[in-house]
Amino acid sequence: MSAPLLSARDVTRRFGGRIACRDVSFDLWPGEVLGIVGESGSGKTTLLNCLAGRLLPDGGSVAYETKSAGTVDVHRLSEARRRLLARTEWGFVNQDAREGLRMGVSAGANIGERLMAVGARHYGEIRGQAADWMARVEIDADRLDDRPTSFSGGMRQRLQIARNLVSNPRLVFMDEPTGGLDVSVQARILDLLRGLVEGLHLSAVLVTHDLGVARLLTHRLMVMQGGTVVEQGLTDQVLDDPQHAYTQMLVASILPV
């Protein structure tokens, strides 16, 4: 391990006079899953969008170590390079699967889109890979030609994950991947994600407000409040021995079963 995969320095983003996130710095190493937790409105999603190049930060920089072209500043890349990066080396899993999927075309076409975008022109092979990924995310192969509109929430989310991972990305951004799903479906998706992240040696930045999700999936945790990082460290350490008052409150507010 020579260099961090993703390195954020003093990332700041304002919306008018309102500060969404301020001076966020961290390094993400290959194979590591970083969790960002905090309450609603604490700037988690804004930070994620800045990291993924979807929003231009007002200050600071985000550096990414590419597979072949060395380290690049995500926000100084040309739009063409950034979009290419986003559909080859990166993945982005939205909270709402409808935003991340093409609802008007079949599941197979959804999974195959990234392959076709980088030049795959063999129908049989694209379809074969799509079927393979359907199996890996535990969707029945006979749903390959069905549209995601006929899928349940959990299936859509799994389809979205397959669509992102088909191009073998190195880094996946996830925005509340289990938000809005019922508990048993959440558990299956978490299981699936954990297996995929370990099996594919993925790095990931995961935004969640659910400390259970963070505990299961992430290695390291950043706690955000009001746009700033109030505490960061190893996940177990932060959750078992929270230092900051806000983190203590957050951990204490988990409902016991």
């Binding site: 075309v105 197979g108 076409a109 889109e113 990234r114 975008a117 063999h122 129908y123 390959l144």
Partner: protein, 291 residues
């Protein structure tokens, strides 16, 4: 109907139309100049959609306002005009447009493909191979090939600018998944000069191979959406496909009932109450010349 009507014999330096009420070729000189500039840019960047200031024309959108403006900008007294609609020279739209230019531009008109210097067309490319110096003007209803896949204009322009055409391939994939083959039969998307994906206007995919390295200049005018694009002579035009589902044109088991052609695009006609069917060439000039 005579096949060829010669140019009326009037003073060639007269800059007005025959009846004196309109400027030559209907449009004013500044407008023609603006359209010619758009055409030059379109020819310089094959397949790229150039916006232009489309004018109100004396016929409704969808009847060929884009094609007429392009023709008006390039036509001169020495030209011979042919207008076809679905391959036929004698349909209402074709006859009206031909008569319009005979009046306002005093040009000779013809139905013979070989004699024409400008051919304005809707829905077909003539069967007779075109030659150097001929110009084919297409009437285009929807110039944006990605429109049905991506509704945002800003986004489609970005996709063109960055050559991000995965979504087009997705639509072909979907067609095979649903129908077992690429079911699109007209307005079949093409890649021009290896750079821009272009809508060839609603011609049958049968005509797509005729666009590839054609000796004639192809100009496309969309009046409603105010776009002009072009394919210069001898430019590659490739129909999109998959390696294992290659592009194919339509074929018929019958031949033309009038001329016996087995190589032209055939229209199916029901000829009596018992449902008797007949296949005839859609290109009337080609069919007549073979009888």
């Amino acid at each position: 109907m005579p096949d060829t009507i010669p140019r009326p014999d009037i003073n060639p330096t007269d800059s007005t139309s025959q009846d004196g009420a309109y400027n030559y070729a209907y449009l004013d000189e500044q407008t023609k100049r603006m359209i010619r500039r758009a055409i030059l840019k379109a020819v310089a960047v094959p397949g790229y959609q150039v916006p232009f200031g489309g004018r109100e024309m004396p016929l409704p959108y969808g009847w060929g306002t884009g094609g007429i403006q392009v023709t008006a900008a390039i036509i001169g007294r020495e030209d011979t005009l042919k207008v076809i609609d679905q391959g036929a020279d004698d349909t209402t739209n074709a006859v009206s447009i031909r008569r319009f230019f005979a009046t306002v531009a005093q040009v000779a008109t013809t139905t013979h493909t070989e004699e024409a210097t400008i051919i304005q067309t809707r829905h077909r490319v003539p069967e007779t191979p075109l030659t150097d110096g001929q110009i084919l003007v297409f009437q285009v209803p929807i110039p944006e090939p990605l429109r049905m896949l991506e509704p945002r204009e800003t986004e489609t322009r970005t996709l063109h600018a960055l050559s991000e055409y995965g979504v087009m391939q997705v639509s072909l994939y979907e067609s095979i998944a649903r129908h077992g083959r690429i079911a699109k039969t007209y307005n079949y998307p093409v890649m021009v000069n290896g750079r821009y994906i272009m809508s060839p206007s609603p011609i049958p995919k049968f005509d797509n191979p005729k666009l590839d390295r054609s000796a004639a200049l192809q100009l496309y005018g969309a009046g409603r959406e105010k776009r002009i694009y072009a394919v210069p002579p001898h430019t590659s035009v490739k129909s999109l496909d998959f390696d294992d589902h290659p592009f194919e044109i339509e074929t018929w088991t019958e031949c033309c009932a009038l001329c016996g052609s087995t190589e032209s695009f055939l229209d199916e006609m029901i000829v009596d109450d018992a449902g008797k069917r007949l296949f005839v060439c859609s290109d009337t000039d080609y069919c007549e010349s073979r009888r």
